[in-house]
Symmetry: C2
Subunit: 623 residues, 2 copies
């Protein structure tokens, strides 16, 4: 099998090559159990939900095999496609005859709805046939097509089957007719198709799809705008002139992913410059500390610089996933560790919270402060997030490593086995670690047909990291946010990477006024929060965090295997939400009374898996 | 003329009686010049805008006198009605033949569109006639009717003419047929009609309108809900069981106004209890420091308790006006000073910011923090706020005083003359003060046919207030948030009220996390903000406020007559929006470097009247 997330073997501008998802087997006690839950609980339940909510039946109605009317939202096809993609990635790691039979059946149903000209969108059938491609801004037709293409590519790579790929190619030929060089320039209101088409090009070698993706990117920001002409749709300016992440967060980040995919294939310096500019804007002005993207409920959108409300953070789960997709592409484009670093933070702290630990419920929005009323749901009318988190976790092993010539890059750390082909070299690693709970990583080169270079990512959170090879300390200083390169690693070598894992208190830029005088707690790659259930002695909204608080790991009730943090802190007196909303500040008054309490923090990804109660990521500081 | 805002002479549960708008003549240098601008600039421009945008023509089309199709939003009739009401209140204070001719013409146009059965809504004409009253939740038909009724009552009181009143009565009879005891119970998605009908009852003496208003209030919170069944529409529970201000802020506050109007007429203890509960929730958990109402853009809605973002405060101008209307009613229902206190704060700091000082541009949303991009507009597609602020300022003199038997209550302070009829007594006052800039108020009883009681409101911001009569200090202590009652005031008496006006720094309840470690500056009834144009030496986002800052009044450039405040403060170093978004907090590190600067604050109502730039109400504190 060769089932990489991105097939970059022939991409001329790739700094590294993505590895096949099945070439890495996770064996840790956080991600792999969740992936197993996805396979055994989540995916079967999503299949059932897609059937019960009419999403599958819509294809049968379109095919004429079932009587009825289209049901649901006009972009519901995309949920079936994303689910198919999630199933395909699951099969890549874990062959499963029952799931594969489901995939075959769903694939046949999808294929049966395709029109003779290749068109496929079950909403635009019968009386709505005349409206096809008439409102690209709002109706998500190219978005749905993109998800079909991505599913087909994944299905092809994971199973070797071309049944879904043939549907995708036929649909793409329909798109080519309408929007290729002989057709009209078109931009979809919801980006997604761009990266899908590039991947279809990589999978098939047919350059039309790369060209079509490029045309779709070029179509943005024209006068008048074809996708709304506004920031909401990233259509306010040509892509090469865009300077910030703006508008609908998922669309923005899918567009950026598509542009990164173009850059992996073509020399387009003006796009490259714009990509770096909007990335800088994202990470320096508009990202939540957990990697969450999108400050506003209205428009599911990015806010202005430093606009990062906590209680009303939108931070859609899909936006976190889109950010990981973008950063994964930027990593392969540039080889720079900062993109993998952001992947790691976003994975643990912004994507994982999107699903409950039992694999049955989902967050759409991810606030960083809540009064206890925000809880996960088993499904949504607009059900983009559930299959999206399933496909991310399906792809996940592929994100742990990449290769370039005779170098093996390790981006993320977890107990795992890897079997990788370098240039004229076969390398197999066994990795042992208790990440994300402890920072020691032991890597055994159980096979190396020839010496190779091992490039280990040093996270930004690990200053003072050190490495030894066969017990001998390497002499070089390891720089955070870079790759430490160990040359001439041979079969039998044992590399021990020590990533110091200290609890850190983090402060925001002072212009983030909602976080002023407050700090967040992190340890290693994890961002923590206070949840009421762990803090029975004080309302978490009254907890004060000493600036010199000293946290140590602890167990958490009813969360086996999840490591908490505890420290001595303070509880503001009097407690509780009484008292006036605004009152005179008395400069001469004594500081507010406090009572000592033990503060217990839980990893943010694990919040809202127990009884409901207030939660806070940012905690007021006390001196 | 007897043109009170509320005609409470015969209301059995009124603790005081509203005075005629023309019985108070403002002579101050803030409100009265703005009122004059409204008369000479704003109202003529709004007439022109209502004509140019098809709002007036819609009535002509409905009447069949002009060919065409309805233009604009389905509730656009209400803007014409609110403008008519604003014109009527303006005429009450200031007869103006040209404006009255406009009113007569507009009234005739409105009347011409009324249907034989009394129905009047220009959207539901011709092919939409069949849809009348079919979607009360969304289509604002009763809302529009309410604004017509309010305009008609104001027009009748201010001019003595019954031309518009006849239209309102005829429409009300149509409503009675559909929604009275012989019709169906109905709740409008946008409350407004309730208070209008009570006022129509007071104006005409016809008890049907009171009964209909009561039915409309009773219709809320039924199962299934008639107005959506949700919090957005205040339809989640019966009104007597509602415990918080919730959903769309203007609708919530208009509903509360209507319920207060009912309570002035009827003994309904369960409503009274609910009114007090939601008022407490409003002022203790959900109001901005400036009186602004509505934390969320989505739904123009109240948030949860303590959810008060500053940069994305919605705080619609109409919601501030609605709050003043509600509190004016609660004041007359209870006689309690706290309601007048909130009227004052909201008037100066949440309603006045809604209009530019030149009377030509409007804010719809009123953020308490901005990067300089939020500016007033000359009009809106949804143009509720512009005529609403005009009618508020038209009514305003009527809000300064009330009467009960032989007592004259003064609620608000400004230089003014008043001529009022008490019980068998005629009293005329001359009031001299430089409020809101200075707290000394001199009141001369230039006429009093008999001794009377003068009840002076002591604002919450004036602890230490004192009063003298003819130079002799009164011996009683004046309690903030109460009325100081001076008995046996006679003709020729001179009362001097001293309201200490000190600059105060105010802090929020600690659960308002966006304001943590920050303070707002107020002086007297005014809330201040920092605007960049007054602070050339430091980006206002880098200004730090010493907890013991000592402000003194100052002039402001390009804002003649507006008093600023200045103090020694600090500017955070390095300045500007660079640096990482999140970084390690170093407890042992030296405090951030600062540079001394002079801080200059401007009253919040006057912001955005000069060059654009960042603005902040809440300022980070430094010790």
């Amino acid at each position: 099998m060769n089932a990489p997330i991105l097939a970059l073997q022939r991409s001329p501008h790739a700094a590294m090559t993505a590895v096949s998802v099945d070439s890495v087997q996770l064996k840790d006690r956080l991600l792999q159990p969740l992936r197993e839950t996805i396979r055994t609980v989540t995916l079967p339940s999503q299949i059932e939900l897609c059937r019960n909510t009419g999403r599958v039946r819509n294809f049968q109605i379109a095919a004429g095999t079932v009587e009825g009317k289209f049901e649901g939202i006009y972009f519901n096809d995309s949920d079936v496609y994303k689910l198919l993609e999630a199933l395909a990635w699951s099969l890549a790691s874990h062959p499963d005859a029952a799931l594969e039979a489901e995939v075959d059946e769903l694939t046949a149903i999808v294929a049966s709805a395709q029109q003779p000209d290749g068109y496929l969108n079950t909403y635009f059938m019968f009386e709505r046939e005349k409206d096809r491609f008439s409102n690209l801004r709002d109706m998500h037709e190219l978005y749905c097509a993109g998800h079909l293409i991505q599913a087909a590519v994944a299905h092809h790579r994971a199973t070797g089957k071309t049944t879904l790929l043939q549907v995708a190619v036929k649909l793409s030929e329909c798109l080519w007719k309408h929007f290729g060089p002989e057709g009209r320039l078109a931009a979809c209101g919801h980006e997604e198709c761009e990266m899908a088409l590039v991947e279809l090009y990589r999978d098939t070698g047919d350059a039309r799809w790369l060209q079509l993706a490029h045309r779709m990117v070029q179509a943005r920001g024209q006068k008048p705008g074809m996708a709304g002409g506004d920031r909401y749709h990233q259509d306010h300016a040509p892509v090469e002139e865009q300077k910030d992440v703006t508008g609908h967060a998922v669309r923005q980040l899918y567009l950026a992913s598509g542009v990164a995919d173009l850059l992996l294939e073509q020399e387009l310096p003006e796009y490259m410059q714009a990509q770096l500019a909007i990335w800088e804007n994202f990470v320096n002005k508009r990202i939540y500390i957990n990697g969450g993207a999108g400050a506003r409920y209205e428009g599911e959108a990015f806010g202005t610089d430093y606009e990062l409300p906590n209680d009303r953070a939108y931070a859609e789960t899909c936006a976190a996933i889109a950010s990981i997709m973008w950063n994964y592409r930027m990593l392969h484009l540039t080889g720079e560790a900062r993109f993998a670093d952001l992947m790691e933070i976003t994975l643990y702290n912004a994507a994982l919270p999107g699903i409950s630990l039992d694999g049955k419920q989902y967050f759409y929005e991810n606030p960083l402060e809540n009064d206890g009323t925000h809880r996960r749901s088993p499904w949504f009318g607009c059900a983009c997030c559930p299959p999206n988190i399933a496909r991310l976790l399906g792809q996940l092993p592929g994100m742990f490593a990449s290769t370039r010539a005779n170098t093996l890059f390790v981006h993320l750390y977890a107990s795992a086995a890897m079997q990788l082909n370098l240039e004229n070299n076969r390398v197999e690693l066994e990795i042992e670690t208790d990440m994300p709970w402890q920072g020691k990583v032991t890597i055994r080169a159980v096979r190396a047909d020839a010496p190779f270079t091992l490039a280990l990512r040093i996270p930004h959170w690990a200053p003072g990291a050190s490495v030894s090879v066969n017990g001998a300390d390497a002499d070089s200083t390891l720089q955070p946010n870079s790759y430490a390169k160990l040359e001439n690693v041979g079969q039998g070598d044992v590399i021990v990477l020590n990533l110091p894992m200290k609890t850190a208190l983090l402060a925001s830029h002072p212009w983030v006024s909602c976080n002023y005088g407050q700090a967040a707690v992190s340890r290693g790659p994890l961002v923590y929060c206070l949840e009421q259930t762990d803090n029975p002695d004080c309302d978490v909204r009254d907890i004060l965090l000493p600036v010199n608080a000293s946290f140590e790991p602890c167990e958490l009730k009813n969360l086996p295997g999840v490591q908490g943090l505890k420290a001595a802190g303070a509880c503001r007196q009097p407690e509780g939400g009484s008292g006036p909303l605004h009152q005179l500040l008395h400069p001469e008054a004594a500081p507010p009374a406090v009572r000592p309490v033990t503060i217990t923090a839980v990893p943010y990804y694990a919040w809202a898996n127990r009884e409901a109660g207030p939660m806070r990521v940012w905690i007021p500081l006390t001196h």
